[in-house]
């Protein structure tokens, strides 16, 4: 019955919209509806529940300050259960029957690629607030997470200089892990290093005895761990128990799954992560963000980079709508094309790149110490998401709605 009522409601809404041609103020008056599709249960929940809280915090702050352009923000939240099919189902629901103005969606790259065709089909607008393997050139998507040219072009050369040229990659066996491993391979080669091993682990695998032996048998100077999900996180404990003792480099650990808080020291010691935000970053803006977050969610286990990105995305969207004067997607894209959409938030000042609709970041190198405290050996200020633009993606000109990788770049114009 609920479905019928929802259908009826949406029918009435469409009717109301049809009538509103005479009175243009009408569709601009109600609340701005924001769909939130994040994993609040299942394999990824540990890293993603905090994203929903960050969006709720931003919505509360925006509403307390008078809303977006005077209109209140209303969240439509669904739990996608770490399941790609739920993403498709709920993406259809928020775009068709809930008729939201914008969607904030997705953790794993598999889920993003599952819902992206639906966003394209209904010409929706989706914010993907996650670090990922890069390359999505799609004007229905705005990406606030960090990408390989921000996380690997900084991390890998630094690690090679510090620890040596022989690299072993252990990656989750799906699009994120495969494409990220390709980036690592390319950057290692460009810097004169050697890949001494590369293994892909199916999601859900929790026993790593053989991989640990392979790593020990290789001449690796450090291990790049691109492991995803709670099951695969068992690697660190098992590697530490076997006394592998090699430094680790990652774009996903600590900043996402706060493994340094969940595991007993020193299993994660000597892990190096490039992240655009974690709660240990000691700047006034970051400390202020953490304080406001914990005031609203006192029991939050950890405020990770995706929480910061989601919070930033909400504020960017507010700015976009206020500058465009509407929630129309073309008008919003026109504002992005002006190239000066920036937000000074918890991770410092960040700006949207008009060509790729990705975001610039200050990248922190976080090192996990023996007692699992975090130190920051170095910081790379203000790195632009340049790869897509340089490779030939320009969303201000055309929209291929495709994902590119170093081995399959955009076709030459």
């Amino acid at each position: 019955m609920t479905f019928n009522r929802t259908a009826l409601a949406s029918l009435m809404t469409s009717a109301a919209m049809a009538c509103s041609v005479a009175g243009p103020a009408l569709s601009q008056d109600g609340p701005i509806r924001i769909g939130v599709l994040e994993d609040q249960s299942g394999d990824f929940a540990a890293a993603t529940t905090v994203k929903v809280h960050a969006i709720e915090l931003a919505a509360k702050e925006i509403n307390d300050a008078g809303g977006i352009d005077g209109r209140p923000v209303e969240l439509v939240v669904y739990d996608t259960q770490s399941d790609n099919r739920r993403y498709q189902e709920f993406m259809r629901r928020v775009l068709q029957s809930d008729e939201v103005d914008v969607v904030f969606a997705g953790f794993s790259s598999a889920s993003r690629e599952a819902y992206r065709p639906i966003v394209n089909q209904f010409d929706g607008l989706a914010f993907y607030n996650n670090q990922y393997e890069g390359g999505v050139c799609d004007d229905n998507m705005i990406v606030t997470g960090a990408v390989p040219e921000q996380q690997f072009s900084t991390l890998i050369p630094w690690m090679m200089e510090e620890y040596g040229p022989n690299v072993y990659t252990l990656a989750a066996d799906y699009n994120f892990g495969q494409i990220s491993a390709e980036w690592v391979r390319q950057i290692v080669e460009e810097n004169g290093g050697t890949m001494v091993g590369e293994e892909f682990i199916p999601l859900g695998v929790s026993q790593f005895g053989q991989n640990i032996q392979n790593i020990q048998a290789s001449e690796a100077d450090f291990v790049v761990t691109l492991l995803v999900g709670a099951a695969q996180a068992s690697y660190y404990e098992q590697a530490a128990a076997a006394d592998v003792g090699l430094p680790m480099a990652s774009s996903v650990n600590v900043g996402q799954g706060y493994e340094h808080k969940r595991f007993t020291p020193p299993s994660l010691a000597n892990m190096f992560v490039t992240t655009n935000y974690i709660e240990e970053i000691d700047t006034p803006a970051s400390n202020d963000f953490v304080e406001r977050f914990r005031a609203m969610f006192p029991d939050e286990p950890y405020i990770n980079q995706e929480a910061a990105n989601s919070y930033i995305a909400m504020n960017l969207y507010k700015q976009l709508v206020e500058r465009a004067g509407t929630t129309e997607h073309d008008a919003i894209r026109a504002v992005i094309a002006e190239g000066d959409v920036c937000f000074d938030g918890p991770s410092g000042n960040v700006c949207l790149d008009p060509k790729s609709q990705h975001m610039s970041h200050t990248i922190y190198l976080a090192k996990v110490e023996d007692d699992h405290s975090i130190s920051f050996p170095t910081v790379w200020e203000n790195i632009a998401p340049y790869w897509l633009g340089e490779a030939g993606c320009d969303l201000t000109v055309s929209d291929p709605s495709a994902q590119y990788t170093p081995s399959s770049p955009p076709p030459a114009q």
Partner: protein, 290 residues
């Protein structure tokens, strides 16, 4: 690397996989093999044991006692579940699948809501040993010993104790056992509790090596079901040799071709076994010996 190191490395991988399969499947094998109930909440009993072990160990209990506490709590929960739900479905095996699946969903989501999406684990104890160039986790060698001890203990329990005789009698000829004055309802409850306690023990033993999340039981599920299906109804002539064969296949394929092929090997084996030996290894072994 000399021959000894190479052989030790292979034995270690085989033993590691064997231990995981035996420990993961023991509880499932008892409940399915003895009672014919397909317990889809097996992974959640494992999770229960792991959570109790981690929290009691963090509260200061020595790890071996914490692991036993995990097994004990899982066993008690199992007896409650048997009394409340399973008991009413003994003659409806398909319904019991749905019921135990429902229990598993409730348990996973309940733990997520009450305890949050993750919990601090306990570190792996005992450190590592060096064999040649490589080092190995000593705790995982202890786990191999635990797997053998578990099989021995279950054998003694079922074949050399009064409880074992009565339990087997109840399972084989319930009416006759009842006529001889056995409280069969109580035996069913105890056997299910034992299966749940074994699952809890698996969780407790692996808790120091894994991530503590509400869904952690699901990483045991495929391996334990594959072992029980390949083994058939009897844990000693079925599940134990099945675990040995599967460990050989999985460890070998993983060593040569990687984790993905290890998993494929397991699943192909189970498909072949279902096709060729519908009664599993134990059905085939018992059939040929008759």
């Amino acid at each position: 690397m000399d021959l000894f190191e190479r052989i030790f490395a292979m034995l270690y991988q085989f033993g590691d996989t064997f231990a995981f399969l035996v420990i993961a499947c023991a509880g499932l094998a008892v409940i399915f093999g003895m009672m014919g109930v397909i317990n889809l909440a097996h992974g959640e009993f494992i999770m229960c044991g792991a959570y109790v072990t981690a929290s009691t160990a963090r509260a200061g209990l020595p790890l071996p006692l914490a692991i036993l506490a995990g097994a004990l709590v899982a066993g008690i929960v199992g007896m409650f579940v048997e009394r409340l739900v399973i008991r009413h479905l003994y003659h409806r095996p398909l319904d019991s699948i749905i019921a135990t699946w429902g229990i598993s969903l409730i348990a996973t989501q309940g733990v997520l809501i009450v305890l949050g999406s993750t919990m601090m684990g306990v570190g792996t104890p005992l450190g590592s040993i060096e064999v040649g160039e490589r080092s190995y986790s000593l705790y995982r060698i202890v786990l191999m010993g635990c797997a053998l001890g578990l099989l021995g203990g279950l054998y003694l329990l079922f074949y050399h104790t009064r409880f074992g005789v009565i339990a087997r009698a109840t399972i084989q000829k319930p009416q006759m056992a009842l006529a001889l004055g056995v409280n069969t309802g109580r035996m069913y409850g105890l056997t299910f509790g034992l299966g749940a306690a074994l699952a809890g023990l698996a969780g407790g033993l692996y808790a120091p090596t894994m991530t503590m999340v509400p869904t952690m039981g699901s990483t045991f599920i495929v391996e334990s079901f594959v072992t029980v299906v390949v083994g058939g109804g009897d844990i000693f002539v079925g599940a134990a040799p099945a675990a040995a064969i599967l460990a050989l296949i999985k460890a070998g394929l993983t060593a040569w071709y990687g984790q993905l092929f290890g998993q494929i090997g397991l699943l192909v084996t189970v498909i072949l076994v279902i096709r060729i030996l519908p009664g599993g290894l134990s059905g085939w072994l018992k059939g040929t010996s008759r």
